[in-house]
Protein backbone atom coordinates (compact mmCIF):
# COMPACT_ATOMS: atom_id res chain seq x y z
CA UNK A 1 0.00 0.00 0.00
CA UNK A 2 1.34 3.43 -0.84
CA UNK A 3 2.12 6.11 1.69
CA UNK A 4 -0.81 8.39 2.40
CA UNK A 5 -0.59 12.18 2.37
CA UNK A 6 -1.49 14.20 5.44
CA UNK A 7 -4.84 15.11 3.83
CA UNK A 8 -5.70 11.47 3.18
CA UNK A 9 -4.77 10.46 6.70
CA UNK A 10 -6.86 13.28 8.13
CA UNK A 11 -9.85 12.37 5.95
CA UNK A 12 -9.69 8.78 7.04
CA UNK A 13 -9.49 9.62 10.74
CA UNK A 14 -12.12 12.36 10.52
CA UNK A 15 -14.50 10.03 8.71
CA UNK A 16 -14.27 7.59 11.55
CA UNK A 17 -14.36 9.97 14.52
CA UNK A 18 -16.15 13.03 13.15
CA UNK A 19 -16.48 15.73 15.79
CA UNK A 20 -13.49 14.53 17.82
CA UNK A 21 -11.11 15.47 15.01
CA UNK A 22 -10.55 19.10 14.03
CA UNK A 23 -9.92 20.41 10.53
CA UNK A 24 -6.43 19.99 9.15
CA UNK A 25 -4.09 22.92 9.76
CA UNK A 26 -3.11 25.17 6.84
CA UNK A 27 -0.45 23.62 4.59
CA UNK A 28 2.97 23.48 6.18
CA UNK A 29 5.77 20.96 6.48
CA UNK A 30 3.82 18.67 8.77
CA UNK A 31 0.10 19.58 8.79
CA UNK A 32 -1.60 18.63 12.03
CA UNK A 33 -5.08 18.06 13.36
CA UNK A 34 -6.43 18.30 16.89
CA UNK A 35 -7.92 15.38 18.75
CA UNK A 36 -10.49 15.86 21.50
CA UNK A 37 -8.86 14.86 24.78
CA UNK A 38 -11.43 12.31 26.00
CA UNK A 39 -11.25 10.24 22.78
CA UNK A 40 -7.45 10.25 22.42
CA UNK A 41 -6.85 6.58 23.24
CA UNK A 42 -9.62 5.45 20.87
CA UNK A 43 -8.16 7.50 18.04
CA UNK A 44 -4.66 6.28 18.82
CA UNK A 45 -5.78 2.65 18.70
CA UNK A 46 -7.43 3.27 15.35
CA UNK A 47 -4.26 4.93 14.02
CA UNK A 48 -2.27 1.94 15.08
CA UNK A 49 -4.62 -0.87 14.05
CA UNK A 50 -6.15 0.44 10.82
CA UNK A 51 -4.51 -1.46 7.94
CA UNK A 52 -4.28 1.62 5.72
CA UNK A 53 -2.79 3.83 8.44
CA UNK A 54 -0.84 1.33 10.56
CA UNK A 55 1.12 3.83 12.66
CA UNK A 56 3.40 1.31 14.30
CA UNK A 57 5.77 3.85 15.79
CA UNK A 58 5.11 6.71 18.20
CA UNK A 59 7.90 8.94 17.06
CA UNK A 60 7.63 11.74 19.59
CA UNK A 61 5.45 13.16 22.30
CA UNK A 62 6.13 16.70 23.40
CA UNK A 63 4.21 19.73 24.58
CA UNK A 64 3.98 23.49 24.20
CA UNK A 65 2.75 26.04 26.70
CA UNK A 66 0.43 28.90 25.71
CA UNK A 67 -0.34 31.02 28.78
CA UNK A 68 -2.35 33.64 26.86
CA UNK A 69 -4.71 31.04 25.45
CA UNK A 70 -4.68 29.19 28.76
CA UNK A 71 -3.82 25.86 27.15
CA UNK A 72 -1.03 23.35 27.08
CA UNK A 73 -0.83 21.51 23.78
CA UNK A 74 0.49 17.96 23.80
CA UNK A 75 1.96 17.14 20.39
CA UNK A 76 2.11 13.60 19.02
CA UNK A 77 4.13 12.46 16.03
CA UNK A 78 3.01 9.14 14.64
CA UNK A 79 5.03 7.29 12.03
CA UNK A 80 4.33 4.20 10.03
CA UNK A 81 7.33 2.11 9.07
CA UNK A 82 5.09 -0.07 7.00
CA UNK A 83 3.66 2.69 4.82
CA UNK A 84 6.33 5.35 5.40
CA UNK A 85 3.96 8.13 6.31
CA UNK A 86 3.74 10.57 9.18
CA UNK A 87 0.90 12.20 11.08
CA UNK A 88 1.03 15.00 13.62
CA UNK A 89 -1.76 15.48 16.14
CA UNK A 90 -2.31 17.79 19.06
CA UNK A 91 -4.44 17.65 22.16
CA UNK A 92 -5.41 20.90 23.85
CA UNK A 93 -5.50 20.79 27.63
CA UNK A 94 -6.69 23.24 30.22
CA UNK A 95 -3.61 24.95 31.60
CA UNK A 96 -5.04 25.14 35.10
CA UNK A 97 -5.60 21.38 35.30
CA UNK A 98 -3.82 19.61 32.43
CA UNK A 99 -4.84 15.97 32.37
CA UNK A 100 -5.05 13.53 29.50
CA UNK A 101 -5.16 9.76 29.07
CA UNK A 102 -1.86 7.99 28.73
CA UNK A 103 -0.92 6.29 25.47
CA UNK A 104 1.32 3.82 27.27
CA UNK A 105 -1.26 1.11 26.63
CA UNK A 106 -1.03 1.67 22.88
CA UNK A 107 2.67 2.37 22.36
CA UNK A 108 5.16 1.49 25.09
CA UNK A 109 7.36 4.29 23.76
CA UNK A 110 4.97 6.79 25.33
CA UNK A 111 6.09 5.86 28.83
CA UNK A 112 9.20 7.98 29.29
CA UNK A 113 8.12 10.72 26.91
CA UNK A 114 4.98 11.27 28.96
CA UNK A 115 7.02 11.25 32.12
CA UNK A 116 9.23 13.93 30.63
CA UNK A 117 6.21 16.08 29.82
CA UNK A 118 4.94 15.58 33.33
CA UNK A 119 8.37 16.57 34.62
CA UNK A 120 8.76 19.74 32.57
CA UNK A 121 5.14 20.85 31.97
CA UNK A 122 3.18 19.29 34.80
CA UNK A 123 0.75 17.45 32.53
CA UNK A 124 -0.75 14.44 34.30
CA UNK A 125 -1.29 11.36 32.15
CA UNK A 126 -4.14 9.28 33.51
CA UNK A 127 -3.52 5.55 33.56
CA UNK A 128 0.24 5.92 33.24
CA UNK A 129 1.94 3.03 35.10
CA UNK A 130 4.73 5.14 36.60
CA UNK A 131 3.92 8.85 36.74
CA UNK A 132 7.15 10.22 38.23
CA UNK A 133 9.70 12.81 37.19
CA UNK A 134 12.28 11.42 34.80
CA UNK A 135 14.91 14.15 34.40
CA UNK A 136 14.76 16.38 37.47
CA UNK A 137 15.11 15.18 41.07
CA UNK A 138 11.93 13.86 42.67
CA UNK A 139 11.77 16.70 45.19
CA UNK A 140 12.08 19.44 42.56
CA UNK A 141 9.59 22.27 42.86
CA UNK A 142 7.70 23.40 39.76
CA UNK A 143 7.73 22.52 36.08
CA UNK A 144 10.52 24.46 34.37
CA UNK A 145 9.31 24.58 30.76
CA UNK A 146 6.13 26.40 31.70
CA UNK A 147 6.34 30.03 30.64
CA UNK A 148 5.53 31.33 34.12
CA UNK A 149 8.11 29.13 35.88
CA UNK A 150 10.14 30.92 38.52
CA UNK A 151 13.31 29.34 39.89
CA UNK A 152 13.03 28.26 43.49
CA UNK A 153 16.45 29.80 44.24
CA UNK A 154 18.80 26.89 44.47
CA UNK A 155 18.27 23.27 45.35
CA UNK A 156 18.79 21.65 48.76
CA UNK A 157 20.85 24.56 49.99
CA UNK A 158 23.02 24.80 46.90
CA UNK A 159 22.98 28.43 45.87
CA UNK A 160 21.97 29.29 42.33
CA UNK A 161 23.81 32.60 42.15
CA UNK A 162 27.42 33.30 41.32
CA UNK A 163 29.30 36.56 41.34
CA UNK A 164 30.31 37.93 38.01
CA UNK A 165 34.07 38.44 38.25
CA UNK A 166 33.76 41.29 35.79
CA UNK A 167 31.55 43.25 38.19
CA UNK A 168 34.51 44.76 39.98
CA UNK A 169 35.82 46.05 36.66
CA UNK A 170 32.38 47.35 35.74
CA UNK A 171 32.21 49.27 39.00
CA UNK A 172 35.71 50.62 38.31
CA UNK A 173 34.49 51.73 34.91
CA UNK A 174 31.56 53.50 36.50
CA UNK A 175 33.81 55.14 39.06
CA UNK A 176 35.86 56.53 36.20
CA UNK A 177 32.86 57.48 34.08
CA UNK A 178 30.58 58.85 36.80
CA UNK A 179 32.58 61.99 37.70
CA UNK A 180 33.39 62.56 34.05
CA UNK A 181 30.02 64.12 33.01
CA UNK A 182 30.10 66.56 35.92
CA UNK A 183 33.48 68.18 35.16
CA UNK A 184 32.75 68.53 31.46
CA UNK A 185 30.30 71.49 31.71
CA UNK A 186 32.39 73.15 34.38
CA UNK A 187 35.49 72.62 32.26
CA UNK A 188 33.80 74.11 29.22
CA UNK A 189 32.40 77.12 31.01
CA UNK A 190 35.69 78.37 32.43
CA UNK A 191 37.29 77.70 29.07
CA UNK A 192 34.88 80.01 27.23
CA UNK A 193 35.21 83.23 29.23
CA UNK A 194 38.99 83.38 28.75
CA UNK A 195 38.43 83.11 25.00
CA UNK A 196 35.84 85.89 25.10
CA UNK A 197 37.99 87.97 27.37
Amino acid sequence: MPALTAEQIHQRVAAKFGEAISALSPPRKDPYFTIAGPRLVEVARFLREDPELRFDFLQDVTATDHPKEGVIKVVYHFYSYQHRHLAVAKVHLDRAKPEVDSLDGVWKAANWMEREIYDLFGVIFRGHPDMRRVLLPDDWVGHPLRKDYVEAGGYRGISNVRDNPLDQYLSLDRAVKAPAPAPVPSAVKPAEPPKGA
Binding site: R156, I158, R162, D163, D167
Partner: protein
Protein backbone atom coordinates in the same frame (compact mmCIF):
# COMPACT_ATOMS: atom_id res chain seq x y z
CA UNK B 1 62.23 19.25 67.29
CA UNK B 2 62.35 21.58 64.45
CA UNK B 3 61.97 25.25 65.01
CA UNK B 4 59.49 27.11 63.01
CA UNK B 5 62.26 28.85 61.11
CA UNK B 6 63.80 25.53 60.13
CA UNK B 7 60.47 24.24 59.05
CA UNK B 8 59.74 27.19 56.90
CA UNK B 9 63.20 26.96 55.45
CA UNK B 10 62.65 23.31 54.69
CA UNK B 11 59.48 23.98 52.79
CA UNK B 12 60.60 26.73 50.57
CA UNK B 13 59.40 25.74 47.19
CA UNK B 14 62.56 25.26 45.20
CA UNK B 15 62.60 21.98 43.31
CA UNK B 16 66.31 22.16 42.54
CA UNK B 17 67.58 22.79 46.06
CA UNK B 18 64.88 21.17 48.18
CA UNK B 19 67.03 18.25 49.33
CA UNK B 20 69.76 20.49 50.62
CA UNK B 21 67.35 22.70 52.55
CA UNK B 22 65.62 19.94 54.45
CA UNK B 23 67.22 19.89 57.85
CA UNK B 24 64.79 18.09 60.11
CA UNK B 25 63.61 14.51 60.37
CA UNK B 26 59.95 15.49 59.98
CA UNK B 27 60.99 17.35 56.89
CA UNK B 28 62.57 14.26 55.40
CA UNK B 29 59.52 12.23 56.29
CA UNK B 30 57.26 14.85 54.79
CA UNK B 31 59.30 14.87 51.67
CA UNK B 32 59.11 11.12 51.37
CA UNK B 33 55.39 11.02 51.98
CA UNK B 34 54.68 13.88 49.64
CA UNK B 35 56.87 12.34 46.98
CA UNK B 36 55.00 9.06 47.17
CA UNK B 37 51.63 10.79 47.32
CA UNK B 38 52.13 13.05 44.37
CA UNK B 39 53.59 10.22 42.33
CA UNK B 40 50.51 8.08 42.79
CA UNK B 41 47.59 10.45 42.55
CA UNK B 42 44.84 8.12 41.46
CA UNK B 43 41.96 10.03 39.98
CA UNK B 44 38.30 9.23 40.15
CA UNK B 45 36.60 8.76 36.80
CA UNK B 46 33.91 11.39 36.98
CA UNK B 47 33.20 12.48 33.43
CA UNK B 48 29.88 14.30 33.23
CA UNK B 49 29.88 15.73 29.72
CA UNK B 50 32.19 16.38 26.77
CA UNK B 51 35.03 17.20 29.21
CA UNK B 52 34.89 13.53 30.13
CA UNK B 53 36.02 12.69 26.60
CA UNK B 54 39.05 14.95 26.98
CA UNK B 55 39.68 13.38 30.38
CA UNK B 56 39.81 9.98 28.69
CA UNK B 57 42.17 11.39 26.07
CA UNK B 58 44.41 12.72 28.82
CA UNK B 59 44.59 9.26 30.30
CA UNK B 60 45.22 7.79 26.86
CA UNK B 61 48.55 7.06 25.21
CA UNK B 62 49.11 10.45 23.56
CA UNK B 63 48.90 12.72 26.61
CA UNK B 64 49.59 9.77 28.91
CA UNK B 65 48.80 11.02 32.40
CA UNK B 66 49.98 7.61 33.56
CA UNK B 67 53.61 8.72 33.30
CA UNK B 68 53.03 10.95 36.34
CA UNK B 69 51.65 8.04 38.31
CA UNK B 70 48.03 9.01 37.77
CA UNK B 71 45.79 6.04 37.18
CA UNK B 72 42.03 6.22 36.74
CA UNK B 73 40.01 4.48 39.43
CA UNK B 74 36.36 3.59 39.20
CA UNK B 75 35.67 3.94 42.92
CA UNK B 76 36.09 6.92 45.26
CA UNK B 77 37.50 4.63 47.98
CA UNK B 78 40.71 4.20 46.01
CA UNK B 79 40.95 7.73 44.66
CA UNK B 80 43.01 10.70 45.82
CA UNK B 81 41.96 13.15 43.18
CA UNK B 82 38.55 13.97 41.80
CA UNK B 83 38.45 15.44 38.33
CA UNK B 84 35.00 16.95 37.94
CA UNK B 85 34.81 16.95 34.17
CA UNK B 86 31.69 18.52 32.76
CA UNK B 87 28.35 20.13 33.47
CA UNK B 88 27.16 19.48 36.99
CA UNK B 89 23.41 19.49 37.46
CA UNK B 90 21.67 19.80 40.80
CA UNK B 91 20.59 16.19 40.60
CA UNK B 92 24.19 15.09 40.05
CA UNK B 93 25.53 17.55 42.64
CA UNK B 94 24.10 15.42 45.43
CA UNK B 95 25.95 12.40 44.05
CA UNK B 96 29.09 14.44 43.49
CA UNK B 97 29.18 15.52 47.12
CA UNK B 98 28.56 11.96 48.24
CA UNK B 99 31.44 10.65 46.12
CA UNK B 100 33.71 13.37 47.45
CA UNK B 101 32.85 12.45 51.01
CA UNK B 102 33.58 8.79 50.30
CA UNK B 103 37.14 9.58 49.25
CA UNK B 104 39.82 9.08 51.88
CA UNK B 105 41.90 12.04 53.02
CA UNK B 106 44.02 13.61 51.70
CA UNK B 107 41.84 14.37 48.71
CA UNK B 108 42.09 16.89 45.94
CA UNK B 109 39.69 18.27 43.39
CA UNK B 110 40.29 19.56 39.89
CA UNK B 111 37.43 21.50 38.37
CA UNK B 112 37.75 20.85 34.65
CA UNK B 113 36.18 23.09 32.05
CA UNK B 114 33.95 26.15 32.07
CA UNK B 115 30.84 24.29 33.20
CA UNK B 116 32.51 22.86 36.27
CA UNK B 117 34.20 26.19 37.03
CA UNK B 118 31.16 28.43 36.97
CA UNK B 119 28.31 26.79 35.07
CA UNK B 120 29.77 27.99 31.81
CA UNK B 121 27.45 28.02 28.85
CA UNK B 122 24.60 26.73 31.00
CA UNK B 123 24.99 29.20 33.85
CA UNK B 124 21.52 30.66 33.36
CA UNK B 125 19.88 27.26 33.24
CA UNK B 126 17.50 26.24 35.99
CA UNK B 127 19.11 22.86 36.55
CA UNK B 128 22.86 23.52 36.43
CA UNK B 129 25.06 24.18 39.45
CA UNK B 130 26.94 27.47 39.12
CA UNK B 131 30.35 25.94 39.74
CA UNK B 132 31.56 22.85 41.57
CA UNK B 133 32.98 25.05 44.34
CA UNK B 134 29.41 25.66 45.48
CA UNK B 135 29.40 22.17 46.95
CA UNK B 136 32.99 20.94 47.42
CA UNK B 137 36.34 22.74 47.84
CA UNK B 138 38.28 22.96 44.60
CA UNK B 139 42.08 23.00 44.40
CA UNK B 140 42.74 23.69 40.75
CA UNK B 141 40.51 25.20 38.09
CA UNK B 142 41.26 24.28 34.48
CA UNK B 143 39.65 26.69 32.02
CA UNK B 144 38.55 25.67 28.54
CA UNK B 145 35.50 24.35 26.77
CA UNK B 146 36.61 21.64 26.89
CA UNK B 147 40.27 22.00 27.97
CA UNK B 148 42.78 20.20 25.81
CA UNK B 149 44.63 17.24 27.34
CA UNK B 150 47.70 19.49 27.67
CA UNK B 151 45.67 21.89 29.82
CA UNK B 152 44.42 19.13 32.08
CA UNK B 153 47.96 17.78 32.38
CA UNK B 154 49.07 21.24 33.46
CA UNK B 155 46.28 21.30 36.03
CA UNK B 156 47.38 17.93 37.29
CA UNK B 157 50.97 19.13 37.65
CA UNK B 158 49.65 22.05 39.72
CA UNK B 159 47.99 19.57 42.06
CA UNK B 160 51.32 17.79 42.37
CA UNK B 161 52.87 21.13 43.34
CA UNK B 162 50.24 21.50 46.07
CA UNK B 163 51.01 18.04 47.41
CA UNK B 164 54.69 18.82 47.43
CA UNK B 165 54.17 21.70 49.86
CA UNK B 166 52.15 19.76 52.41
CA UNK B 167 53.19 19.10 55.99
CA UNK B 168 52.54 16.00 58.00
CA UNK B 169 51.97 17.94 61.23
CA UNK B 170 49.35 20.05 59.61
CA UNK B 171 46.69 17.37 59.77
CA UNK B 172 44.10 19.17 57.77
CA UNK B 173 44.99 20.62 54.49
CA UNK B 174 43.88 24.25 54.22
CA UNK B 175 40.84 23.99 52.04
CA UNK B 176 38.83 26.84 50.76
CA UNK B 177 35.26 26.71 51.95
CA UNK B 178 32.62 27.37 49.37
CA UNK B 179 31.97 31.08 49.47
CA UNK B 180 28.86 32.79 48.36
CA UNK B 181 28.21 36.44 48.83
CA UNK B 182 24.81 36.11 47.25
CA UNK B 183 25.47 39.01 44.93
CA UNK B 184 24.24 37.01 41.98
CA UNK B 185 25.11 37.14 38.37
CA UNK B 186 23.02 40.15 37.43
CA UNK B 187 25.01 43.22 36.51
CA UNK B 188 24.41 45.97 39.11
CA UNK B 189 22.46 49.05 38.17
CA UNK B 190 24.39 51.46 36.00
Amino acid sequence: MATSTDERKGYQHDPGASTALVTTSTGVLDQLINWSRRSSLFYLLFGLACCGIELMQTGGPRADLDRFGAVPRATPRQSDLMVVAGTLTYKMAIRCKLLYEQMADPKYVISMGSCANCGGLFQLSYSVVKGVDKIIPVDVYVPGCPPRPEALTEGFLRVQELVKREKLKQKQRPSRAPTDTGAGYAVPEA
